[in-house]
């Protein structure tokens, strides 16, 4: 008994010694590029377990120990594998209230899961979930077999990557082995990949969120817009630093997936808000810009099911930095401007409902909202055309009725109808504000809906995925606000304002 305890203590102490913090900077090739071990460990453990810690150990430690168990330098252990879909839980004989299954148990169901995936011919939420669960089990096995952690072997001045278990023959001095590999790799390819370590460890977007929140508090509670502007500019600078790091890591404009577009739109809205503030000295722009910025940062931090923060290689079609940056940037900036108008419109609607607005105020805010809408519309038109030119340049087709481009056109058309409507007696001040608040739903549909609702197709609806739930909730909340604030006696009276 004592021997066993000593053995266990001894072996864990080896592992504890081996898996030190300085392993975080080792180079690893995964998902098509080279990254620091810390990033790979974080991404993989998060994917398998849905969490960033396991029994008090960090992802790095968990990943490291489990990997080193393949060459006997540590004890092997189990990980909880995340399963969310109720039918998937039933298939794996799990307790329906638990979202996790021990890896050893999960491995017994691998064949059954595969068969179930093959049997389901059409894509369904269950099939997607089973694919994910299968990949999680597979990832766990890869770590355990020392294949997930790749190590460079150098031949003819080129780094070839192999699983840890295949190359780490000398187990006595594993630390030196890794150290040498790292030094050799940096000597050959440079230490560019370490930038990602700085990026991940700095939590730079959390810092930005904090600054933006302070800016809001300063403006609202301390009633000091100057301090607010200072923090707004500070937020922008921090976000520029964060995006620059992503550019240096990926070598492309930071606007290639949902995570990055949300990031850029928050940034863009704050910049536009501050620029407009130069002309229209009203702190409401600052508040809207900071508020929307915080909203975006919030989503980036907590909606990782929908917005994947990892950096992965681009599909070949999009590999053109010039067009990518001009076209997508313009579109996202236009969404940012429209987002400002959306926030302003909602603020004004609520204020109006609470009876805090005079008619003159209402008209004044209509002008402010109108300015944002016009900036957004011009940028959107330019962005759509730039997209057409890129498509024409890349594959000879200016326009192809692709859902993404069609929806951006629908957004433009909606706002065009509203702007034209202002010249008729159909759209007065109150209705204009309501319509701009509602208009952002078309933006959300073009931005998120095409990816999360349209792309899934008819037969896989089931609102089980993060994106669809998010969108549904957004539409619902916005509609409720519109109903409460839009239909009121005050609103009916304000019909008289414009005519």
């Amino acid at each position: 008994m004592l021997r066993i305890i000593i053995l266990v203590l001894f072996s864990t102490s080896i592992a504890a010694n081996v898996c030190t913090q300085d392993f975080e900077s080792l180079p690893v090739q995964a998902a098509g590029r080279v990254k620091p071990l810390l990033v790979h460990a974080n991404e993989t453990i998060k994917f398998i377990t849905g969490k960033s810690k396991f029994e008090g150990m960090s992802s790095l430690e968990t990943f490291c120990k489990l990997s080193l168990s393949s060459i006997g330098l540590s004890e092997s252990f189990e990980l909880p594998i995340k399963v969310e879909h109720i039918e998937a839980k039933k298939l794996m004989d799990m307790d329906e209230n638990s979202n996790f299954i021990p890896s050893s148990k999960a491995m017994n169901y691998k064949e059954l899961i595969r068969a179930q995936i093959m049997k389901t011919k059409r894509t369904s939420p269950l099939k997607k979930e089973l694919n994910k669960v299968w990949a999680r089990i597979n990832n766990y096995e890869l770590i355990k077999n020392g294949q997930s952690w790749t190590v460079p072997i150098f031949a003819e001045n080129k780094a070839l990557w192999h699983g840890l278990a295949d190359v780490a023959k000398d187990k006595t001095d594993i630390k030196n082995f890794f150290k040498n590999k790292k030094e050799k790799y940096i000597e050959l390819e440079g230490d560019n990949y370490l930038m990602e370590l700085t990026y991940v460890k700095s939590h730079i977007f959390d810092v930005a969120m904090l600054l933006a929140l302070i800016g809001i508090f300063a403006t609202v509670l301390l009633k000091s817009p100057k301090v607010g502007v200072f923090f707004g500019i500070f937020t922008i600078l921090i976000e520029i630093a964060g995006m620059t790091m992503r550019v240096l890591i990926s070598g492309r404009a930071p606007i290639t997936n949902m995570y990055e577009t949300v990031m850029f739109s928050g940034f863009g809205a704050l910049v536009i808000a501050l620029i407009v503030m130069i002309f229209k000295r009203d702190k409401i722009f600052l508040l809207a810009g900071l508020g929307y910025n915080v909203l975006c940062l919030f989503m980036m931090k907590f909606a990782n099911n929908m917005l994947d923060p990892s950096i992965s290689p681009l599909v070949p079609v999009l590999r053109d930095n010039f067009w990518l940056s001009t076209h997508v940037t313009t579109i996202i900036l236009s969404y940012a401007a429209l987002a400002l108008s959306w926030i302003l419109a909602n603020i004004v609607l609520v204020k109006n409902k609470l009876g805090k607005l005079s008619k003159a105020d209402y008209r004044y805010y209509e002008q402010l909202i109108g300015t944002s809408v016009k900036v957004g519309v011009v940028l959107l038109a330019a962005g759509i055309i730039l997209g057409g030119v890129w498509a024409d340049y890349s594959w000879g087709r200016f326009w192809g009725w692709d859902p993404k481009e069609t929806w951006s056109l629908i957004v433009l058309l909606f706002y065009m109808a509203v702007l034209h409507g202002k010249y008729t007696n159909w759209v007065n001040t109150h209705r204009f504000v309501i319509l701009t608040a509602a208009g952002f739903m078309t933006v959300m549909m073009a931005w998120f809906g095409v990816n999360y609702i349209l792309a899934t197709g008819l037969h896989s609806y089931g609102f089980s995925e993060g994106g669809a739930i998010f969108l549904g909730t957004f539409f619902m909340v916005q509609t409720i606000i519109l109903i409460i604030c839009g239909v009121s006696l005050k609103g009916l009276k304000s019909v008289q304002v414009n005519s």
Partner: protein, 561 residues
């Protein structure tokens, strides 16, 4: 008295003129009005929403036929064009404050005109190149029905654009084209064998994980085969007469089938001698009509000529059972089945009372669902909206044309051409995309694909092609085509668009081929549009500062005019 009618005539003459003038005024005030603009913009937007959902459910082609390329959608765009045109003309003569407005709306009109020019005269097609094979065929997404007559004449019919069942009324002696289904799925129907003695049957093979229905037929006109592969398992549907031979014990494992007399026997029962070639290959000789037919059953069931080519003209087939012992093979003979069991050898089973037969692989079981000695299964298309799943059409992706050929109806399907005979003359029918023949040949010399390191995902793909123009005396020119670097030649531009695998590590390349005379016009319109909208809003803002009080009156005036 005589003057009055004359006056009346004058009035009649004048009336149409004034009413024409009134009509124009009315047109101006309705089609050019803001309200009409709002309505047409919204209707257009709603049509687009509908289109994107249709695209998501039913795929690109269906959405194109139903919405984007339909006549009513074209009509909507025409109304938008007219609305913008009249609204712009309404605001003439030019006022300085409206310069941005004129630029912006002129840009839109030019953009519309350019798009229309592209739509009418442009070409948007695909060129697929197999490695090292010259080609000049560009395929355009426009379906045609092609009839090839025995005298070499070819008639090409353009198929209608509708998204649903389209009636076609073409008639000539012996041939009638009745209708066209742009989207259909196949239904299995049973037809009498009519003199051809050939059986068909339906089986289900299943285990706890999978179930698969197998429809098999020996009838030559059936759309189903007598052989199928299910993963590693090969399934063979054979005439019932062969059952006894497959279950009989034979030393050599050679089974002889006389297709003329429809009898079978083993090599031993007929005392055919089995010999070995110097290279240890087994062979057997069957005397037939004064000839000696040489069989190498381990290579082919057909007799071989001296030059090792196969002979199709004899009724004999020789199977080597031993050949089927190495891999899973299932033999079906209507209501009986034979398979090889690793320990128990060749086993024969009969289907009785719908009870399943257990197979020796992965707990598979087999049931006979129906056995039709005198009927064969055929596949008949019926209209079905296509279904898209993960970007692929999984149902309803077949196009079909119904024809009547000398009194009998036939379906011609896009997935297989049809040849019909009247007497000894054969007429061929086919549904295919319209083809454009380029006056020069393009050859794919080399295809290069880079992958993201450590994965199988392509990072880039590039084609090295050579172009040979027979009209000039210049030698073939070499070009490097890759993403964002197209090849321009004559009127056409070739863009690298995708690739397809043709063998291990061998790829073919696909290019989108484009001819667009509307391009400069569209670009001009785009520039005017963006420039004009910026100008417009900037002008209006300045104006607002000056005339803030007057704004509403100016707007209501421009609305009225």
């Amino acid at each position: 008295m005589g003057i009055l009618p004359h006056m009346k005539n004058l009035n009649l003459l004048n009336n149409p003129l004034t009413s024409l003038g009134k009509a124009y005024k009315k047109l101006e005030s309705t089609l050019g009005s803001m309200k009409f603009a709002v309505v047409i913009i919204l209707v257009f937007a709603i049509a687009l929403v509908y289109g994107t959902f249709m695209e998501s459910y039913h795929g690109r082609e269906f959405a194109n036929k139903l919405v984007y390329k339909s006549w009513w959608f074209m009509g909507l765009q025409l109304f938008m064009f007219i609305s913008i045109l009249v609204a712009t003309l309404n605001r003439l003569p030019a006022k300085k404050m409206l310069y941005g407005f004129y630029t912006l709306h002129a840009g839109l009109l030019i953009l519309f005109a350019g798009s229309f020019l592209t739509y009418v005269t442009g070409v948007d097609g695909m060129l697929e190149l197999m490695p090292k094979e010259p080609s000049n065929t560009v395929r355009v997404q426009e379906d045609q029905f092609v009839v090839g007559y025995p005298n070499g004449e070819v008639k090409i019919f353009t198929l209608p654009d509708g998204a649903f069942e389209n009636e076609m009324n073409y008639e000539e002696p012996g041939l009638q084209i009745k209708k066209y289904l742009p989207f259909s799925k196949l239904n299995t129907v049973w037809r009498p064998s009519q003199g051809t003695p050939a059986s068909s049957a339906v089986y289900t093979i299943y285990n706890e994980n999978v179930a698969e229905q197998m429809i098999m037929s020996l009838h030559p006109e059936s759309d189903f085969q007598s052989m199928q592969k299910l993963g590693p398992l090969s399934v063979h549907f054979m005439p019932e007469t062969l059952y006894s031979c497959f279950t009989q014990k034979t030393e050599s494992g050679f089974i002889v089938w006389n297709t003329e007399e429809d009898i079978c026997y083993t090599a031993e029962s007929e005392n055919y001698e089995i010999k070995k070639t110097p290279t240890n290959n087994l062979f057997m000789i069957i005397p037939h009509k004064g000839e000696y037919l040489k069989f190498f059953p381990d290579f082919s069931p057909l007799p071989l000529n001296d030059d090792l080519t196969k002979r199709q003209d004899t009724p004999f087939r020789v199977f080597s059972k031993k050949l089927f012992e190495k891999k899973p093979n299932l033999f079906l003979f209507g209501d009986k089945t034979v398979f090889f069991h690793k320990r128990k050898g060749w086993l024969g089973r009969e289907f009785t009372d719908k009870r399943p037969v257990s197979l020796p692989w992965m707990n598979f079981k087999l049931t006979l669902d129906s056995f039709r000695p005198n009927a064969y299964p055929a596949q008949v298309p019926s209209y079905s909206r296509p279904v898209q799943d993960q970007g692929e059409i999984i149902e309803g992706g077949i196009k079909a044309v119904l024809i009547n050929f000398y009194g009998q109806d036939y379906w011609v399907r896009s997935d297989q051409p049809l040849a019909l005979s009247n007497g000894d003359k054969q007429v061929r029918f086919q549904i295919k995309s319209r083809e454009i023949k380029l006056p020069y040949q393009i050859t794919l010399d080399r295809f290069k694909m880079d992958k993201n390191p450590g994965t199988n995902d392509p990072a880039s793909y590039e084609s090295f092609v050579s172009l040979l123009d027979g009209r000039t005396n210049t030698p073939a020119s070499s070009h490097h085509v890759f993403m964002n670097n197209p090849l321009k030649y004559d009127d056409f531009t070739f863009y690298q668009s995708s690739y397809f695998q043709v063998g291990p590590n061998e790829y073919g390349s696909a290019f989108s081929v484009n001819y667009d005379p509307g391009r400069p016009i569209k670009y001009l319109g785009s520039i005017l549009l963006v420039f004009g909208s910026t100008w417009h809003f900037a002008l209006r803002r300045r104006k607002k500062r000056k005339f803030f009080e007057k704004e509403s009156t100016i707007e209501s005036q421009s609305e009225k005019s």
